[in-house]
Structure formats: C-alpha cells, structure tokens
Amino acid sequence: MIRLSSVSHQIDGAKILSNISANIPKGQVTALIGPNGAGKSTLLSLIARLQGLEQGSISIDDLDVVTTPSDELARKLAILTQSNSITARLRVRELVAFGRFPHHKGRPNHKDLERIEEAIEQFDLGDLADKFLDEVSGGQRQKAFVAMAYAQDTDYLLLDEPLNNLDMASARNLMRNLTELAAQTGKTIVIVLHEINYAALYANWIMVLKQGQLIANGPAKEILTPQIIADTFGIEVTIHEIDGKTLVMHYG
C-alpha cells in the first residue's frame, strides 16, 4: 500500500498540492486522473523521491520514502516520468537493460538478461531492439521506456501518461499487460490517464486530483459518476453499461 499523509508541495510559493492524505491499495491498478496542471505528475514524482518531500509523509509498504536508501527503493518502486530527455545515445535493448541496474549493479546474470528479453517481447520491440532511440518513432520510443520500467520488476510501478504517442492497438496491449501483471503477480500499478475510458475499463481504483486537491479516491465504480466528472473537468457526460463494461460518453 502507498500511504500519503498530509502531503503538500509548493513551487516558488505557489501551492501545487495541498494537504493530500490517501491510501493507494496494493495489488491493484489505480488510475490517477485530473485536468492539466492538477498536480498528478508532481504527486507521482514525490512518491518516487524525484523531488524532495517538503511537508507530510509518504510510505510504500513499510518503507518511508524520505529515509529509505535510494537504491533499496529502486528495487521496490519504478517510475516512468511524463517526458524524458536523454543525452546518452542508446539502442532500445541497452535502454531496457538499464532497468535491471538496481538488481545487478553492473553485473547482470542470466536472470537479468531473461527479464530484459521478456520486456522487449512484451512490448513488441523485438524488431527494434538493436536500433538507436533516435532512429525510432515517438511511440516506439515510449514503448522502450515503458519496457525499461517493466524490466525493473518492482512491486510498485508508477506510470505518468504511458499511453502518450501509442496507437490504438499498442495502448490496449499496454493496458492489458498492466492489468494482467497486477492480477497475476500482485504488483501495484499507478497510472496517470487522460482517456477516462481506459480508467473505466482497466482500473480497479481511481484517484482524482484538481488544482492540487484530492477530489475523490476509491473503487472505480464509485468514482465514475457524472457528478464527480462534472465537478472535476466541468463537462457533462453520460455513463453506459455495454456488455458489462463501463463506457463514459464524453464526445460531442
């Protein structure tokens, strides 16, 4: 479980997150939703110690994010940030392989190598594995970064808008992989999504942020109401059940 208690964050005196207390359940897929600028990325980066925590506390299982050594956390939690700018020129396989670094610290064994190939397989990167990242498309690059986080093989996986640039089939493949991962191996996955129907279909739990405030946090079915969506995004939607699946009609 990820526990957030009274987490607040400011940048240059501007309040980015105010007093957020919430639990994110273990072994589930949690969707983090909210308008642009709500503070979703900031919250994830605080959980993953990418930014220093100023107020409140965050723990992952029984590990406090601030006091636990960084290399220990790296075997517990992986994060894929919203955008990545890299200086090193790497091939796809080399990038994915660095996901194993927290485990082998420079001396990969056969288990590491297997996991790398498995990650490449999972995200359909086989044909691209020996290409440089600056020679593949935006969506292919995105998949490579997701595969890297996957290869890290941590109990907790935080993904900030992983569907960016992915085509329809790849997006579905990714979401299916993630739900399978949570269901079969008990991993906890937190994923920032903008297309609410992915949240409706694949997430068990939904957390809603708006202007740095926690609007709602609970089982997906309870959160996806026209009321909460209207309060959060300011648009009218209708919600339908089709073949046992929830569909949020927000077009038109």
């Binding site: 290399d71 990545n84 020996d130």
Partner: protein, 330 residues
C-alpha cells in the same frame, strides 16, 4: 566488433612504433646503435614521449565523455570550458607564490583550482534553460575565455608571460624521463571512470531516471567532476592545454557505437590515444626537423571532424544483428 578492435589496436601499435622511431635524431643509422646512444634516446626521450601521448589522448577523451554525461550536453569538453584554464591558473599561482616548489606541489594546486573551476561551470550550467542546449558550450567557451584572460593578465603583471605558451599550447616535445610520470595518475583515473562506466551512462539518461534506478545522483556527479578536473589538471601541468580531444573523440564514438559506456569507454580511450599520437607524428614530420605543436594539428583536424559531425546525420549500420565495424573497415 572483434575485427574493429583488431584494426584499432593495430593502428595504435603502428603509431606507437612510428613514434618511437621518428624524431630529430635518425635512429636508423647503425653507428648510434653501437655506442648505445640510440638506446638512451629511446629510454630518456622517445619512450616517455610516446607513453605521455598515449596517456594524454586516452584520458582526455574519457574526461570529455564523462563531462558530457554530467552536464547532459554533447558539445562540451574540459579543455575549452574552464577546467583547463583553471588548471593553468593553478600552475600560475603555484609558480608565482612558490617558485621553487616541486612539480608535485604545482600539480596539487592546479588540481584544486581546476576542481573549483569545473564546479563553477556546473553551477553556471544548471541555471540555463533546458530547452537551449547550444547555450551550454557557448557559456563554456565564454567562461573558459574569461579564466584564460585572467591567467594572461596575472602572468603579464607577474612577468611570467614566458610560461603562458607552455600551458596554453600543449605539446610533447619537452617530455623527458622524469617529467611525465604524473600522467600515469590520469591513466589511473581513466580506469576508475571505466569501473563506474554504468553509473555515468545512467547520468546520461537524466536526473529522473538516475534517481529512479537508485543512483546517488549527487555523489556520481561529484565523482565525475573530480575525475574530469584531475585528469585535466595533470595534463595541463605536464603537457599543456590540448583542446578538442575531449570533444571530438567521444562524439565520433557516440555516432558510431552509441553511449553504452561499459562498451564504448575503452574504445573512446583507444581512439583518443590513436588520434593524438597521429597528430603528434604529423607535427613531427611536416616541417622536420622542426615541430608543430600537437594542439595545433589536432585543432585543425579536430575542427574539421567536428564540423563534419555537425553536418552529417548519425546513421547506424543497416544490418539488424550484432553491430560490427567490418563494413567501414574493409
């Protein structure tokens, strides 16, 4: 890959042999072998010079590579962005304050000033907008220029101008036994960089990825800073500033093989050693028996290669399986 290694090492060996044989005194005359003069020339002058060249080329190329990873920019290198000039400032201060001090003391002071100078550059760079990558080398050039000007100013007022040329325009003609051994330390630092190659490659993936993978970002950055500054200081104290090696060599290797440093750092070192050796040989041959400083030769070739790098887009080899250099070599 293995074929590429073989070719690289063959070129290096050939260059090394040539470097031992070529010089003002012609070692091919039989007489000087008989009276032992040839042997003493080899041991006192040619061998030290050759080793100094190899160590300088390898360690400067690696220092450039490490600096590019810690500042997240491919267009910087320590000799032109303040580290080299700071090292010169250090030697100047040492020469002025303690004129009788040993080479070791001079080097210690040069190392300290170079560390401070490089740290200053990092601090400057951190404040630049991230979306303007070309600002970084420009700020580096300006920063290095300012420190270089301060060195010249002080040297002028302390009547130490005659030393400036030896610090600012690196060359190997003055290298003799007993006057280059500090460079072995630069070689050791290069080995240290190799041992932490993975960490430096991860730095090149950005701060977020580094932290995510459990790296102590600050520590590794500081280690890199130390390696870069110390290698630079040792080189400046022993042979003077040699620009472009740290810029050109890592960029060639990166275009060709990428930046998986565990794999590419040794190649960077070998290519650095080979190119500096070839530049020095050219400098020895062109106006024989006079010498053109290696920095001048490398400056010309380096600029050309750099321009070529800027204009020719990176391209990887078409084959999908294991990368090999056989295509370029045969």
């Amino acid at each position: 890959m293995t074929k590429g290694w073989a070719i690289a090492l063959f070129l290096l060996a050939l260059g090394t042999l040539a470097s031992l044989l070529i010089g003002v005194i012609d070692l091919s005359q039989d007489e000087i072998w008989q009276d032992g003069e040839a042997l003493s020339i080899l041991i006192i002058s040619r061998l030290p010079r050759t080793i100094a060249i190899l160590l300088t080329g390898a360690s400067m190329a690696v220092a450039g590579l490490i600096m590019q990873m810690i500042v997240a920019n491919k267009f910087v290198e320590p000799m032109t962005s303040g580290s080299g000039q700071s090292a010169a400032l250090g030697v100047l201060i040492a020469t002025f304050l303690f004129p009788a001090s040993s080479l070791f003391v001079k080097m210690a002071i040069a190392c300290l000033v170079s560390l401070a100078g490089t740290a200053g550059f990092l601090a400057l760079i951190r404040k630049l907008p991230a979306h303007q990558p070309l600002m970084v080398p420009l700020v580096g050039l300006a920063y290095g220029g300012v420190i270089g000007a301060i060195v010249t100013f002080i040297a002028f007022h302390t009547e130490l101008m005659q030393y400036l040329e030896t610090w600012f325009n690196g060359e190997f003609s003055g290298i003799l036994q007993g006057r280059y051994e500090l460079l072995w330390l630069a070689g050791l630092l290069t080995m240290l960089a190799y041992l932490t190659a993975d960490q430096f490659a991860i730095l090149g993936l950005g701060k977020n990825v580094s932290i995510n993978l459990g790296l102590n970002y600050k520590h590794i950055t500081r280690l890199g800073l130390a390696i870069v500054s110390l290698i630079t200081a040792m080189t400046v104290v022993t042979v003077g500033i040699i620009p472009f090696v740290g810029l050109v060599v890592p960029n060639i290797v990166s275009r060709w093989l990428g930046d998986n440093l565990r794999k590419t750092l040794p190649i960077t070192a070998i290519l650095g050693a080979t190119l500096v050796l070839l530049s020095d040989l050219v400098g020895r041959i062109v106006r024989h028996p006079f010498e053109i400083p290696v920095g001048t030769i490398f400056g010309i070739t380096g600029t050309c290669i750099f321009l070529w790098l800027l204009y020719v887009p990176a391209r990887s080899k078409p084959q999908k399986t294991k990368p090999s250099m056989s295509g370029t070599a045969s």
